[in-house]
C-alpha cells in the first residue's frame, strides 16, 4: 500500500502539486493521467525521493518515506522507469540488469578479493538477469551494447532493470512513448503478466486506449490538483476530465474571439 497524504510541491511561487491525497492499493494496475505539465512526473520524483515535497507525507507499507534517499526507497521496494530513457548505453544489455541487482548476492568489498567466491555469485546474478531479460523479450540481445537497441527495446530494458531491484511497486513513466502498435500490445501483455505475479504498478501514460485497457483504477491530475479518481469507465464519463483534456466550449469561444 502506497499512501500519499496531502503532498504539496512548490518550485518558488509555482504550485506544481497541491494537496494530493492518493492511496494506491497492492496488486493493482493504477493509472495516473493528466495533460502535460499537470505534475505527474513530479509526483513520481517525490515518491522515489528525487525531490522532497514542500509538505506532506508518503507512507509505504507502514514506512514513512520522508527524508529517505532514493536508494533507500528503492531498497524498500519501489522501482521506476523514466520518461526520457536512462539506460546505461555503454554497457551490455545484461550488465544493465545486473547493476540493479542490489538485493541479490550482497557480498562485501572484502569478499570481492577472493576469486572463487566472486565467480559463484556472478553466475547466480547472471542467470537471474537472463530470466528477467527473457520476461521482456530481450534474452537474445543480452550481450550487445544497450545503446544499440531500438527505442522500444530500450524501454523494455528499463523495465527489466527496474524489476531486477525486486520491487513491490513499479512506477512506469510513459512506457509506450515511441513504441509502435505491436510493441504496445506486447507491453500490455507483459504488464498484465507482471500484475498477475503479484506486482503493483503505477503507470503514467498518455495513450488512452492503453491506459483504459489495462488499469483497474485511474487518477487524473490537472494543474497540480487531483480532479478525479475511479474506474476507467467512470473517468471516461467524467465531464471534468474531458474538460481538462479538450477544454470547454467557452474556452473555445475565447480562443476564437482572440
Amino acid at each position: 500500500m502506497l499512501i500519499l497524504s496531502s503532498i504539496t510541491k512548490a518550485f518558488g511561487g509555482l504550485q506544481v502539486l497541491q494537496n494530493i491525497n492518493l492511496a494506491i492499493p497492492e496488486q493493482r494496475i493504477f493509472g495516473l493521467i493528466g495533460p502535460n505539465g499537470a505534475g505527474k512526473t513530479t509526483l513520481f520524483n517525490i515518491t522515489t525521493g528525487l525531490l522532497a515535497p514542500t509538505s506532506g507525507n508518503i507512507e509505504f507499507f507502514g514506512h514513512s518515506l520522508t527524508g529517505l534517499a532514493p536508494h533507500q526507497i528503492v531498497r524498500l521496494g519501489i522501482a521506476r522507469t523514466f520518461q526520457n530513457i536512462r539506460i546505461f548505453k555503454d554497457m551490455s544489455v545484461i550488465e544493465n540488469v545486473m547493476v540493479a541487482m542490489v538485493r541479490q548476492a550482497r557480498y562485501s568489498a572484502l569478499r570481492v578479493l577472493v576469486p572463487p567466491a566472486l565467480l559463484g555469485a556472478q553466475c547466480v546474478e547472471r542467470s537471474e538477469a537472463r530470466s528477467l531479460l527473457a520476461r521482456v523479450g530481450l534474452a537474445a540481445k543480452a550481450g550487445i551494447l544497450a545503446g544499440s537497441l531500438s527505442y522500444g527495446e530500450q524501454r523494455r530494458l528499463e523495465i527489466a532493470r527496474a524489476l531486477a531491484t525486486r520491487p513491490k511497486f513499479l512506477l512506469l513513466d510513459e512506457p509506450t512513448a515511441g513504441m509502435n502498435g505491436t510493441e504496445k500490445h506486447q507491453l500490455m501483455e507483459d504488464i498484465l503478466k507482471m500484475a498477475e505475479s503479484g506486482l503493483s504498478l503505477l503507470i503514467i501514460e498518455h495513450d488512452m486506449r492503453f491506459i483504459m485497457g489495462i488499469c483497474q483504477e485511474i487518477a487524473v491530475l490537472n494543474f497540480g490538483q487531483l480532479i478525479a479518481q475511479g474506474t476507467p469507465e467512470a473517468i471516461r464519463a467524467n465531464p471534468e476530465v474531458v474538460e481538462a483534456y479538450l477544454g470547454n466550449e467557452s474556452d473555445g469561444v475565447i480562443m476564437f474571439a482572440k
Binding site: 528525487l50 536508494h71 528503492v74 536512462r86 554497457m91 550488465e95 547493476v99 546474478e125 550487445i144 531491484t165
Partner: protein, 286 residues
C-alpha cells in the same frame, strides 16, 4: 649480472618513479572511473610524503609503519573533504579540489618549523627498495582489478554514465564516490611516502598544480575503463620524457603531440585502443 648492476645504478630512480607514478595513476583512476574530475591527488601525495618523511626523520618509526600512517592521513583528510566537495561535479569539482591542493601546498610552505618551508625536507632516509614498490603496486593493482571485475566496478561505470539512474537502482552513489575518493587519497599518500624515501629530499612545490595535471594526464591517457589503463598511462608518462631525451629542446613539443594524438584518436585512453581494434572484428559476446 654485471649489466644488471650498471643498469640499476643508472636507472633505479626511473624504475622506482615508474612504480610510484603507476600508484598515482591508479589513485586518480578510482575517482575518474566514477566520473569525478578531482585534481587533489598531488596534494594527497604531498600529505603522505610529508607525514611519512617526518615520522621517519623525527619519530624514528619503522619504515612500514610511517608508510602506513602516511597513507592513512591523506585518506582521513579525504574522508573529511569529500562530503562537502563531492556534491559538486564537473569543472566545479575540479576547481574545488584544485583550491584544496593550493591550500595544502601553501600550508607546507608556511609551517617552516615542521616542514622546513620552501627549503623542503632534507636527508630523508632512503628506505624504499624496489621490492617494496613492486609489492605495493601489485597489491593495489590486484585489489582494483578485482573491484573492476565485480559489481563494485560495474556500479562505478554506471555512476559515470548516469548518477540518477544508478541511485534509483538502489546504490548509495554518494557513499561510492566518497569511498573512491578516500581510497584514491590513500593510494596517493602511499605513493608519496614511497617517493619521499628514495628521493632523499622533498619540497612543497613538488606537490603543486604541475604534479596534479601530470597525474590527471596519466589517468586520462591510459583510460579510465580499467585499472590497466592507469598502469599504461603511469608508465608512459614517466618513460616518454626519457625515451625522447635525444630530441633535446623539442622534447616537450613531441610529448604534447603524442598526448594530443592519443586523445584525438582514442578519447577513452590507450586502454580503449584494444576495443577500437576489436570492434572492427565483431566477436560474439556471451
Amino acid at each position: 649480472m654485471e649489466w644488471l648492476e650498471t643498469f640499476w645504478a643508472t636507472y633505479s630512480t626511473l624504475v622506482l618513479s615508474v612504480g610510484t607514478n603507476v600508484l598515482l595513476a591508479l589513485s586518480i583512476y578510482l575517482t575518474l572511473a566514477c566520473g569525478l574530475l578531482t585534481v587533489a591527488n598531488a596534494a594527497f601525495m604531498g600529505i603522505g610524503a610529508y607525514a611519512a618523511a617526518l615520522l621517519s626523520l623525527h619519530g624514528s618509526l619503522p619504515f612500514y609503519l610511517s608508510l602506513t600512517l602516511g597513507a592513512l592521513l591523506p585518506a582521513m583528510v579525504a574522508a573529511m573533504l569529500g562530503p562537502p566537495t563531492l556534491r559538486l561535479s564537473g569543472v566545479y569539482l575540479a576547481m574545488a579540489t584544485l583550491a584544496f591542493g593550493e591550500i595544502v601546498r601553501i600550508t607546507l610552505l608556511n609551517t617552516e618549523n615542521l616542514t622546513g618551508g620552501a627549503l623542503g625536507l632534507n636527508g630523508i632516509p632512503q628506505y624504499t627498495r624496489w621490492f617494496d614498490v613492486f609489492a605495493i603496486v601489485v597489491g593495489a593493482l590486484y585489489v582494483l582489478v578485482r573491484f573492476a571485475g565485480s559489481r563494485i566496478g560495474r556500479t562505478m561505470i554506471a555512476i559515470r554514465q548516469d548518477e540518477v539512474a544508478t541511485e534509483l537502482m538502489g546504490h548509495n552513489v554518494r557513499a561510492y564516490k566518497l569511498y573512491a575518493f578516500t581510497l584514491g587519497a590513500g593510494l596517493a599518500g602511499l605513493a608519496g611516502g614511497l617517493n619521499a624515501h628514495f628521493t632523499f629530499f622533498i619540497s612543497p612545490n613538488e606537490y603543486g598544480f604541475d604534479r596534479g595535471v601530470e597525474i590527471l594526464a596519466m589517468g586520462v591517457l591510459g583510460g579510465t575503463g580499467s585499472p590497466w589503463g592507469a598502469v599504461i598511462g603511469g608508465i608512459l608518462i614517466t618513460l616518454l620524457p626519457e625515451l625522447l631525451r635525444s630530441l633535446g629542446d623539442y622534447r616537450p613539443l613531441l610529448n604534447g603531440v603524442i598526448l594530443i594524438l592519443i586523445i584525438l584518436y582514442s578519447p577513452n585512453g590507450i586502454w580503449d585502443l584494444k576495443r577500437l581494434i576489436r570492434s572492427r572484428h565483431p566477436v560474439p559476446v556471451s
